[in-house]
Symmetry: C2
Amino acid sequence: MDNGTASRRVVIVGSGFGGLFAAKALKRARVEVILVSRTTHHLFQPLLYQVATGILSEGEIAPATREVLRGQHNARVLLGDVIGLDLATRTVTSDLLGETTITPYDYLIVAAGATQDYFGNRHFVDHAPGMKTIEDALELRSCIFGAFELAEAATDPAEIDRLLTFVVIGAGPTGVEMAGQISELARRTLPGVYRNIDPRAAHVVLLDAAPTVLASFGNKLSGKTARHLRKIGVELRLCARVVDVDATGVEVEDLQGRRRIPSLCKIWAAGVAASPLGAQLAAQSGAKVDRAGRVQVQADLTLPGYPRVFVVGDMVSFPGLPGVAQVAIQGGRYAANQIARDCAGLPTGQPFRYHDKGNMATVSRSYAVASIGPLRIAGFGAWLLWLVVHLIYLVGFKNRFTTLVDWAVAFIGRGRSERTVITQHVLSRNAARPRRNTHDDSPTASRQHAPTPKR
Amino acid sequence: MDNGTASRRVVIVGSGFGGLFAAKALKRARVEVILVSRTTHHLFQPLLYQVATGILSEGEIAPATREVLRGQHNARVLLGDVIGLDLATRTVTSDLLGETTITPYDYLIVAAGATQDYFGNRHFVDHAPGMKTIEDALELRSCIFGAFELAEAATDPAEIDRLLTFVVIGAGPTGVEMAGQISELARRTLPGVYRNIDPRAAHVVLLDAAPTVLASFGNKLSGKTARHLRKIGVELRLCARVVDVDATGVEVEDLQGRRRIPSLCKIWAAGVAASPLGAQLAAQSGAKVDRAGRVQVQADLTLPGYPRVFVVGDMVSFPGLPGVAQVAIQGGRYAANQIARDCAGLPTGQPFRYHDKGNMATVSRSYAVASIGPLRIAGFGAWLLWLVVHLIYLVGFKNRFTTLVDWAVAFIGRGRSERTVITQHVLSRNAARPRRNTHDDSPTASRQHAPTPKR
């Protein structure tokens, strides 16, 4: 370690946008940085839906955190799940495969982000994975492509219908992007590869309890997005509350009453809940947490009474801060800068100001919406902008390059190269009862009661 | 289906080299082709070790079979695990998630390949995955990169040693390539990213019961390979028999007696056993099977007494045919051609002739060995040759392109972009007992008996 001279230690919890950018911003500060993370990679979450839908490989959006910080000699990564923050003893307790590590800190930046919120319906998670981790995306990938495979093999029209019905719950950016991509997949990528089914018959349903999609983008863009989604064949079910989710479908309640949507592949993109570490900080500092478990911090993102403990990103409840990457990035950099100033004996405490660089979401290939300051743009221009911005922010040159190639293939062409189906994933989702049928010359096979061979 | 006029149906079992190339070779034949496969992808197995070691993404070596056959309208893919071949009723029985399909055939091409052979020690598979499927490769990827992560976090020198010891069992091409790649990873890719460990301290052990590596390549290349492996830091343990494999290590017996090698990450690249379908065919046709379960076929690759049933690739026991991709490709094409001729009323039965295009294996970046006819080359030239040949054979232009980029990054540079660690995979392998330690200023942390917080 060539930072033996470093007098103070900054411990950062989380390798997401907030944590990683905080660590990078401390590169020149005379401190020792320890980034504690439960994953070995930084996740470029805004593109997770492209991993789930077969456009990008996991490596392209999840560079190894150590690789990103390779050259930053005052920083080290500690792999582990943070299970305890102690403001009194100023220590972070993390667990790695049952092994506990206690790390003392001088400054603490908590950027543990948020997880999917199932609003108390924990069993939903078994049937409708969220969109928060690489594991989620890979499971969804197998489930989505697997659904078409099972439909191709199925003979019962009702079952084929169920297999080709994809239900996306939550019409925020993630939900809209997922719904749009699955529809693209069914309408552009897959037609021609199957012999028994027409993938265009796939049914993509986008559900939300709210009356609009992309509410945060304002009425104008929200309306345009809804129109475009319908145009590309996505069925919108707004003001619809999900009552239950099980292996075979989704139970929905809307103005027309209670209805069941049979579906194999369900995606949960509804609420988010801040990391439980937020509650820990609140309990020890007396800070308030909102309903999503986000901590109410001071104007300088510190915990009340703890000027050396910062909370950034999705864990923060702060007037006018949306749960987007930019908030985490700017918050992380701000906290790092405050710490650097404090170590250098410079005055600190200037309130954090979020510079809203705008907000964008892709609805489909060549159609995106962007709200930048007073600007509200929708369509191809917004999509090009989206393309450029995301390429610039992708961490690591190589990823950027192959990503460009993958995008060219998916957007100019219609291929999707990352569609490996892991059978276990499909098995874990599917609830098909054993049936028998013979596969004869007719496209849809007629049954025959052949004895099922023992395995 | 626009092949309603097709009078005869060819059923192909397996989407590997044999099956896929047979299907493609039937493109112009007036037959209906049904390819039955348990995976949705064709697997470019010769590069599987690069997925395991983080160079390539799974999509790059596993294109969707349907995509490859997209334009071939006389072919369809039936997803399913073939559980029965009935030569009397001329039917193939396959199972998909408990659903049985019976497919009648006029011609049958069995190309179900081989699986890893644990020589009766089934429990080895839990601790030393093979190198046969995408799932194997992804699990090994997590295990290999996860081992370095756990070592960085560990404090007990003996445990660090165990975590950094990689044991590859079997010194054939796959074993040699894996050992070489792990060594490259430790010596070129990872140095600089860790703070507590030096990845160069990693210990790669290549075991084989035979006295030589790459025996099939002849003494000259075998010797050169052994020397180069030692040069890049691989420890060779030849004439060594694996007695036992468990979670914490490998038990080996060699001339020095019985020895234990503590290791987290073990890779099984020893024997292969033909698909059990071979035994089924033998039982019904009276054909002989060899010890590896491969079927002894006629000179025209047909089953004795069944001129319309072909067996190709790794399932075939045929004088002078090694278990390589070329044998499967040429066998598949030959069988397709025989069938096409038969359908066209042309004479068949010309014996199959294998055109040995040579054999190659990469030992490390810029070092490969190739045996082509009388030629025996080793080194950079052979490696360039390997590069070109594999690029040409990679199915699908796009894969070929990003693969080239990934190779440029890995071979010219030293990056590896596909190293996502799936935590469950590491958890499933690791057998670390709970320990506690504190993480203080010293690189290797001293213990402290802090109570382990409840989770």
